[in-house]
Symmetry: C2
Subunit: 304 residues, 2 copies
């Protein structure tokens, strides 16, 4: 993995599936190209918006291989490697490192709730030690409202201290400003430790606090608008640029629809491929009525 | 899989690990034998108490194979096959069916919270249809305080109706009496649908309501005491027999220690094998002090 710090706008890439729910690799590869051409600095394959945990390890590794074989540069890829089992996280992370990917984004084991910081440190240490490769760059994934497992600033500081360079940063999807600011404090103590926000809605605040960028579901449908904010966060009209990124997210949130299913419907509309609207269980496809309501709410074909 | 309904006392078998955290297969096989000789009707390999989700699919299947190859009868085994990914649950379940196991105990996909009944039905249907084998007997695993995903009586009734025989029952680990009674109502509408409780503390109530028995962590350390209650639940002194099953669970709960780590320490004490006290991350081994306090609380070597 390259030694450069990770910075920029990353899309946790949605994963298209065929009618039999297997990954539609041609559509996937085409979409990866579209996002990079659309302004993303890089892609996170198999994040939460990718329905990562709904695919088994073999499916995840085969998809990463297919994307790289199709010519997408591995150094623009970060691979989500979180799993309930440490041994699976190690296998996924090792595969990503050996494929030359830029980094891995790793959930804590997410089955047992109320896990201690000691147990979480031991988990991530077992993953890093298990991969046992100096090229590893691991970004810790904080999304407690989904995983049920918060990562405390103290835990992250301890990991950054124990594994300099390898413990490369955090993605904070809590959506909470104070939490994000607390992580900036960790980064200030650990040079090279990058803080990414999981919503583009906090991108300006993250950049102002010294963060590295965002890894945001909306980058799947609005990459150029988010990239514009990233490139111009120090401009006088940065707040207006921030506002311009918010409208689709707000429309989806207002609709009360599942975010991932809704994003896939928007991509189906943008690409003219209706199959894009499929999700894997346990998520549920939007009904035709819900799809129509959502697209009407967006009121115009969404320009990507 | 045998067509007989599942009934009796089952231990969600603890999984011993070596210092490198791989499964200690000789100790595991010896322990399976010990539990069956100690009074368990059968074993659930890779339930929550087994730290199932802390082992990857390959490790889980290899351990099941090793137990059966060592001569433990497959028809006394139920295999935990829950996974975040449907494709993994299908692979684990198919493996269990083809090995001749008595049934599978299956969690819903447990990464995303707030999943709809429609999404859960679709998940379990995808698993059953994916295995596509009339020998499958699937027990749905209700443990919302850990998995974060409750299974409603309406969902279970719908599954029992859609998949007669194959949808064979439920394990209710909620620990809540009213929930258990609600599941008895489902079973009365679906002949052959068995209700197991996840705590031996509700075994008498479960039997009185027509349930099938229990799949209880305490059966790892007190199999004969729980078996005695099961065999005598209609005896005049059944309440006293119920009380006799409660003391170790209460002692662990009073101690505030993690239940799985505590049970493993008790097995280490019972078997004279200190390595039994190891857990896999994200759980944490009890300290020597905690171990000593726990064993002192139990105040005597626990007779299994």
């Amino acid at each position: 993995m390259a030694d450069l710090s990770l910075r920029g706008v990353f899309a946790p890439t949605l994963t298209p599936v065929q009618a039999d729910l297997t990954i539609d690799l041609p559509a996937y590869i085409e979409f990866c190209r579209r996002l990079l051409e659309g302004g993303c600095h890089g892609l996170v394959l198999f994040g939460t918006n990718s329905e990562a945990t709904s695919f088994c390890a073999a499916e995840r590794m085969a998809a990463v291989d297919a994307v790289i074989e199709a010519g997408i540069p591995a150094d623009r890829l970060v691979i989500g490697t979180g799993a309930a089992a440490i041994t699976e996280a190690v296998a996924l992370s090792r595969h990503a490192v050996q494929a030359g990917c830029r980094g891995v984004l790793t959930l804590p084991p997410f089955y047992y709730p109320n896990v201690s910081d000691k147990g979480l440190f031991r988990s991530f240490a077992a993953i890093i030690d298990g991969v046992n490769d100096e090229r590893l760059r691991i970004y810790f994934y904080h999304i407690p409202q989904v995983s049920g497992v918060p990562l405390s600033p103290a835990l992250l500081a301890r990991l950054a201290e124990a594994y300099p360079r390898l413990a490369a940063g955090v993605k904070d999807s809590s959506g909470d400003v104070d939490t994000l600011l607390g992580l900036h404090a960790v980064a200030r103590q650990s040079p090279g430790f990058a803080v990414f926000c999981g919503t583009e809605g906090l991108l300006l605040k993250n950049m102002q606090g010294g963060g590295g960028g965002c890894i945001s579901g909306m980058a799947n449908v609005l990459p150029h608008v988010i990239r514009d904010l990233y490139d111009n966060w120090q401009a006088p009209d940065a707040e207006e640029r921030q506002d311009r990124t918010n409208w689709i997210r707000n429309a989806i949130l207002d609709s009360g629809l599942n975010m991932i299913a809704a994003l896939k419907v928007i991509v189906a509309d943008q690409t003219g491929r209706p199959g894009w609207s499929r999700v894997r269980p346990p998520l549920v496809d939007l009904t035709e009525e819900e799809q129509a309501q959502l697209l009407a709410k967006l009121s115009q074909p969404v320009a990507a």
